[in-house]
């Protein structure tokens, strides 16, 4: 009890000195949110962040490469993701798909994901097994194997993946089309999954070039979090990674977006959807840009939890929608603020959209109450402290990914604390200003989803999307 009080008063003074006003009831937390035990860069440019935590016998490794779909060249859309698949096809000492058997047999889990602005790989293991992850990740960074057969095989797999996870799902093809329409710059707009034509036009030679350019130690950051000894881990990192040669860091692509002066609209037919829906959205501030914090708070006000404005108005109040959500897809460079509404039969898209606009106009005209701002801030804290979110501080993988991303993108693993402070400083005035700046009549993009009955047999196997 005593120590707790002491901690609280220390925190209060710390917070006051930072100028953050917090409710007396709000939770206190230790700073830094993710203690960094070591932060070093190998001579080959690989930056490594270690965070010791002995509370549970678990450790996670996250490695983030500075490459995503935005780095692709025209005519090669989808290549970053296809390449990510190739990273599981074996390297000098690890056989094809053995990453999975090694890690699972050790009781762990692993995966990878490709985004617009980065690609990440992770392993999470009982802490005594974490060296296995170093062995696996270093082997593919230094000696990825590329064969014509594996390449063709992965090409087919990615096509199968697109068919089953996108083309065969309700509302998803429209989501991709929506994002394509929302951005004007091809680097931001084209889908991560890419097009079949582009994928088929790529070659093993492209794979080699991509590997050499982007999968270099100086184009990545690795974070390891959990139950290990940092000094010992430092030695292991050197052992496994130091001999991998550096490359020159590739230039960053231009992701500039022109200011949108006219609303964009499209209608997409959907054979799998049972109910009509629409996507709507605007270009938004990039990650860590000054406006991004107020935008984050605005996202919570509009769409976080059952008390949020869109849910209360559309699902509960007017009862026109089965679902009404919005979220900020944060990226380096312009982000996208994206909303999705599935509405009930008996209403027109225009009617339902008018209701969305009423709610948007409300945040543009009327200042949000102090209580609602505080609620939104508590939702931000929930995102960090609850178990369920991907950036949950309860999970060492969530911490490792945050450390790696902050370090790669902005050069400093401690920015998670600065960001939290920035969110907690947002005022009602900021929210109103940002709503007016971004949620404009001329800047909106809308894609209507029109359910159409499934066609019989042969036709049903053809692509379901007609948007060209």
């Amino acid at each position: 009890m005593k120590t707790k009080n002491k901690k609280r008063s220390f925190l209060v003074s710390l917070i006051l000195s930072l100028g953050v006003v917090m409710s007396a009831n709000a939770a206190d937390w230790k700073k830094p949110l993710i203690p960094v035990t070591e932060d070093f860069t190998l001579p080959n440019g690989l930056r490594v962040v270690l965070s010791e935590d002995h509370s549970v016998p678990v450790a996670a490794l996250a490695i983030v490469y500075d490459v995503g779909s935005r780095n692709e060249e025209k005519g090669r859309s989808g290549f970053a993701h296809l390449f990510e698949h190739m990273m599981f096809e074996g390297s000098e000492n690890v056989g094809k798909t053995e990453h999975f058997s090694y890690v699972e047999s050790a009781g762990g889990s692993l995966n990878a994901s490709t985004h617009n602005d980065f690609t990440n790989y992770y392993e999470k293991l009982p802490s005594n097994q974490i060296e296995l992850a170093l062995w696996l990740e270093s082997d593919r960074m230094r000696s990825l194997k590329v064969t014509e057969e594996n390449f063709k095989n992965q090409l087919e797999t990615v096509k199968e993946e697109k068919r089953s996870r996108i083309d065969n799902q309700p509302y998803t093809p429209a989501a991709l089309r929506f994002e394509e329409l929302l951005f004007d710059n091809w680097s931001n707009a084209h889908p991560v999954i890419g097009s079949f034509e582009d994928l088929e036009a790529s070659s093993v030679e492209d794979v080699r070039k991509f590997f050499k350019t982007y999968y270099a130690p100086d184009n990545a950051v690795m974070a390891i979090v959990g139950d290990f000894d940092a000094k010992q881990m430092h030695g292991l990192v050197e052992k496994y990674f130091a001999s991998i040669p550096k490359q020159s860091r590739p230039p960053l692509p231009s992701v500039d977006e022109p200011l949108q002066t006219k609303p964009k609209y499209e209608k997409v037919e959907d054979h799998h959807a049972q109910l009509p829906a629409f996507w709507f959205g605007w270009k938004g501030p990039g990650r860590r840009e000054p406006d991004s914090y107020a935008m984050g708070i605005l996202e919570k006000i509009l769409s976080s939890g059952d008390s949020s404005r869109l849910y209360q108005r559309m699902v509960k109040g007017d009862q026109v929608a089965l679902r009404a959500d919005a979220g900020l897809d944060e990226r380096r460079g312009p982000s996208a603020f994206e909303g999705f509404v599935i509405y009930k039969p008996g209403h027109s898209a225009e009617q339902v959209r008018d209701i969305v606009w009423e709610e948007i106009d409300k945040v543009k005209k009327e200042p949000v109450s102090e209580k609602e701002i505080e609620k939104a801030k508590n939702q931000i804290l929930r995102g960090l402290f609850a178990a369920g979110s991907s950036s949950s501080l309860q999970r060492c993988l969530g911490r490792a990914e945050m450390l790696a991303e902050y370090t790669l993108f902005f050069g400093d693993p401690k920015l998670v604390d600065a960001d939290l402070d920035a969110y907690l400083k947002v005022t009602a005035e900021d929210v109103k200003r940002v709503a007016n700046k971004y949620f404009t009549r001329e800047g909106i993009t809308v894609v209507d989803v029109q359910p159409v009955p499934a066609k019989a047999e042969a036709e049903a196997e053809a692509p379901v999307l007609q948007h060209k």
Binding site: H85, F88, E92, T97, F100, E104, S105, G107, G108, S109, N111, A112, S113, T114, K124, P126, N128, Q129, E131, R142, S143, L144, T147, P170, A175, L176, E179, S292, Y293, G296, S304, G305, D306, S307, K316, Q319, R323, G327, L328, E330, E338, F340, K371, N378, Q379, I380, L381, R382, L384, F385, A387, G388, S389, S390, S391, C396, M402, V416, D419, A454
Partner: protein, 541 residues
């Protein structure tokens, strides 16, 4: 991934399910299926849709067995120590966090675990009554009752509850599965008092307002209509129905007509009868001070909550079958066939639990298991093939399943039968059993990393009335499983000759092929039998 969008999970494959992995009547059963992609929401979510925009490599890819002539991108250096994976130190002894267990005067069992890593608190209340307690005419009642408790109380409206929960950085949801009702709440720890207050309000005094119930029913019916377009829903519906017949486990979702019929009075009665403290367990994990927490629990869930008696639940017998049968749900135009085969297996307290857990892992628990390696990696018929079993209060299903290309429906079924038969006849290898045990022990430990994961395990022990040392000895029991135990369990729990095989796919293209395996009964996507060719096995109950 900024803090602001922290609530959006972007990985679709997790071993630690963010919220308790609870088998819900409208969810796919999740027990024993670690490492699989689970669709856990009652309704698909925006999160999933947005998640597709960033592309996730969820699993490995179908592959040919051919070892290709390889060409390394970089000339390998002479670091010969890289040739073999590192030898690893012995696991650190696993210690369960310390917890306190006690009972209130009204019979409520309470378990407390302090966790000061983050300023957060997780509260789970489990009630030993689920959809098995429903009468046939009001299927869906347990789930709707649990779902509706947050839609209004004597002193708060639905909106006020939502406002309060969101304000305290919290979450609060009720749900019901076949055996239990579960209320999961959480908040920033500074608001623990307010969290306990709202939890007790919705558990003790829900008012089930008429207008809220009407909206819930309308939306639920809409969702049920949408579910019918999904092959996995059609598959589970048929599979559970043929396995369990009139047994309450035989229904995975109510019909729209059922939902129509449910009244406010039904909800009030269900709540009054079954939400009793002496048949409930409260687990609190998080950043709290124990004395203060005990006082809060006594105030909010002690003094005001009256105990009651639950009638002994009598389950009807499950149907007995002789011979294999195929149930084909015809979905014209389907480009894939969803295959699921299995039988009624064991309950949570069965002595076969650990042997079957290990055996299932070898057979189809993850991507290193036999079904995956054979049907996906070697044959390339599917994106993933798995097996699982759901051990419940009563014996639940064992099943093996995959979605395969239409053209290889028969070939895939043949491989499933081969692998199931092999499990029964031959011992698994030493390497297989070791890998399986390590995987399961690791997943178990990894799952306890979060408050929600730990709370779920503690609750499981209490609700299923498992031995007190169940979690402490979990890994030991796992490690003690022998090769003989696995084969014995497989012989008993995989009813190879009398399996039910459910296939959802294009009937015109696959029915003939399936008839070579067993008699085929045809159903439409509404779940109704079509025609009457192919006799099913004799029903003796």
């Amino acid at each position: 991934m900024g803090i602001a969008e922290a609530a959006k999970p972007r990985q679709s494959t997790t071993i630690n399910a963010p919220e308790p992995v609870w088998s819900h009547p409208y969810r796919r059963s999740t027990a024993g299926s670690v490492g699989r992609v689970e669709s856990v929401s009652v309704f698909f979510s925006l999160i999933v849709l947005l998640g597709v925009l960033t592309f996730i490599m969820t699993a490995i890819t179908p592959a040919e067995a051919v070892e290709a002539k390889s060409e390394n991108i970089k000339a390998a250096t002479a670091e010969s120590w890289r040739k073999t994976p590192p030898t690893l130190p012995v696991p650190r002894p696993f210690k369960l966090p310390a917890f306190t267990t006690y009972k209130l005067a009204n019979g409520l069992t309470v378990q407390l675990v302090e966790d000061h890593r983050v300023p957060f608190i997780t509260v789970n209340l489990g009630i030993k009554a689920g959809s098995s307690r429903e009468r046939d005419e009001v299927r869906g009642l347990a789930a709707i009752t649990a779902d509706m408790i947050t839609e209004g109380t004597a002193k708060r409206s639905s909106k006020q509850i939502a406002e309060e929960v969101d304000f305290i950085g919290g979450g609060l949801k009720g749900g019901a599965d076949l055996d239990f009702t579960l209320i999961v709440g959480s908040s920033l720890s500074g608001y623990a008092e307010r969290l306990l207050d709202v939890v007790s309000d919705v558990v003790l005094n829900p008012s089930f307002p008429e207008d809220e119930l009407k909206l819930k029913k309308t939306n639920l019916i809409q969702e049920l209509v949408m579910k019918r377009s999904q092959p996995d829903f059609l598959q589970d519906e048929r599979f559970m129905n043929v396995l369990f017949g009139q047994h309450p486990y035989g229904v995975i979702a109510p019909s729209p007509e059922n939902v129509e019929k449910i009244t406010r009075k039904d909800l009030q009665d269900f709540h009054k009868t079954y939400f009793v403290p002496n048949e409930s367990v409260l687990v609190v994990v998080g950043d709290f001070q124990p004395d203060k927490m005990k006082a809060l629990i006594e105030k909010d869930l002690g003094a005001n909550w009256q105990s009651g008696q639950l009638a002994q639940l009598k389950y009807p017998a499950v149907p007995q079958y002789h011979g294999r049968r195929i149930y084909l749900v015809d979905r014209p135009g389907s480009v894939q066939s969803s295959i699921k085969l299995g039988n009624v297996a064991i309950s949570k307290s069965d002595s076969d639990y650990f042997p079957l857990l290990v055996g299932n892992q070898v057979l189809g628990g993850a991507a290193h298991s036999r079904l995956f390696l054979n049907i996906r990696e070697q044959k390339g018929y599917t994106y993933g093939a798995y097996s699982s079993f759901a051990a419940r209060k009563e014996p639940g299903p064992f099943a093996a399943e995959a979605e395969v290309r239409t053209e290889v429906t028969g070939s895939s079924l043949q491989e499933f039968l081969y692998e199931l038969d092999r499990m029964r006849n031959l011992k698994v290898t030493d390497k297989e059993i070791q890998d399986a045990k390590r995987y399961l022990a690791g997943s178990f430990a990894l799952g306890l990393e979060t408050q929600a994961g730990l709370a779920q395990r503690l609750l499981e022990v209490q609700l299923y009335e498992l031995p007190k040392d169940y979690l402490e000895t979990y890994t030991d029991k796992l490690m003690a499983v022998s090769l003989d135990d696995v084969r014995k369990a497989a012989r008993k729990d995989i009813d190879f000759e009398n399996m039910a095989i459910v296939v959802v796919g294009d009937g015109k293209k696959i029915k003939k092929e399936l008839e070579y395996f067993a008699p085929v009964e045809l159903f439409d996507t509404a779940g109704k039998p079509v025609g009457n060719d192919g006799a099913a096995g004799k029903k003796s109950s």
